[in-house]
């Protein structure tokens, strides 16, 4: 007798791919993006940081670093590492407070 020509049944594809558990952080991020609020916050933060000269300070740091290390030897990662500590520390309190306030309001309104 020939081997069965019946194929074993195709394993059922799950109707929905199993929901991986999204962390709260990810959920917040998704809601921020979907509602468009993330973009607005980015624009606001960008604007504030430019106004207060933070951006210029960071650019000066980068320039100094590039001059030291040699223009052609600089990588983006280098610059990120150069700016990040100083950058995070030197955001003016008022700017930080303003952004935090908006984010908190958003979280409340999105009942997160």
């Amino acid at each position: 007798m020939r081997a069965s020509i019946n194929r074993p049944p195709t394993p059922d594809a799950e109707e929905d791919p199993p929901q991986k558990e999204l962390s709260l952080r990810e959920i917040i991020n998704i809601k921020l993006i979907e509602s468009g609020e993330k973009e607005k916050l980015m624009e606001l933060l960008r604007e504030r940081l430019i106004e207060c000269g933070w951006r210029d300070e960071m650019k000066a740091l980068c320039r100094a670093y590039a001059r030291k290390k040699g223009r052609k030897n600089v990588t983006v990662d280098d610059l990120v590492q150069v700016i990040t500590p100083e950058g995070r520390a030197s955001v003016p309190d008022s700017v930080k407070a303003e952004l935090l306030q908006r984010i908190r309001s958003f979280l409340v309104s999105a009942s997160l």
């Binding site: 709260l24 952080r25 917040i28 991020n29 921020l32 993330k38 916050l41 980015m42 933060l45 960008r46 940081l49 951006r55 960071m58 650019k59 980068c62 320039r63 590039a66 223009r71 052609k72 600089v74 990588t75 983006v76 610059l79 990120v80 150069v82 700016i83 990040t84 950058g87 995070r88 955001v91 930080k96 952004l99 935090l100 984010i103 908190r104 979280l107 409340v108 997160l112």
Partner: protein, 169 residues
């Protein structure tokens, strides 16, 4: 003790800030690699140095002496352009360096050149004297488009030009 929500907010803020930091780093990287920020400084420095050099070096026939400048290909050019080409108005071979005076006579800016006047350029000149600035171009543009333009169309070209000029903001 910050509430969880404050913590979340802080995290969000940190996220946003990281994005902006990345943007700034990327832009500065570009500027550094393209040498854009240094151009200003370096140009000023070079300018200062070249001025100093010129001051120190004035006796010798330095590179920056008046007209005998060397261009970026290392060529020098004589003060008076010597290439010969054909005047588009009268068709004569003209030395490029003498083209402007030639055109003055050729196109009849003054009384002395009236002998060259055709009916078309007389019309244009009459218009000019009435104060329409556009028609001055008429003989030249007609001359460039064809060697001699039949009288009838000069006005047309002049008017077209006038319309065009008025349309431009």
């Amino acid at each position: 003790m910050s509430s969880p929500r404050s913590q979340q907010a802080s995290d969000c803020f940190g996220d946003l800030l990281d994005c902006i930091i990345a943007d700034v780093a990327s832009e500065c990287h570009r500027i550094a690699r393209l040498g854009l920020d240094r151009n200003l400084e370096e140009e000023e420095e070079e300018l200062r140095r070249s001025v100093q050099a010129r001051v120190a070096d004035q006796s010798s026939g330095g590179e920056a002496n008046g007209k005998n400048v060397v261009d970026i290909f290392g060529q020098t050019h004589p003060a008076i352009a010597s290439e010969i080409f054909e005047c588009m108005n009268c068709g004569r071979p003209i030395v490029a360096g003498r083209f402007a005076p030639h055109l003055e006579k050729c196109m009849g800016k003054g009384r002395k050149a009236r002998a060259k006047a055709t009916r078309s350029s007389t019309i244009a000149r009459n218009r000019h004297s009435r104060g329409s600035p556009v028609s001055v171009y008429a003989p030249y543009s007609s001359a460039t488009s064809t060697h001699r333009v039949p009288n009838g169309t000069v006005g047309g070209i002049g008017e077209e030009y006038a319309d065009h000029a008025f349309e431009e903001p």
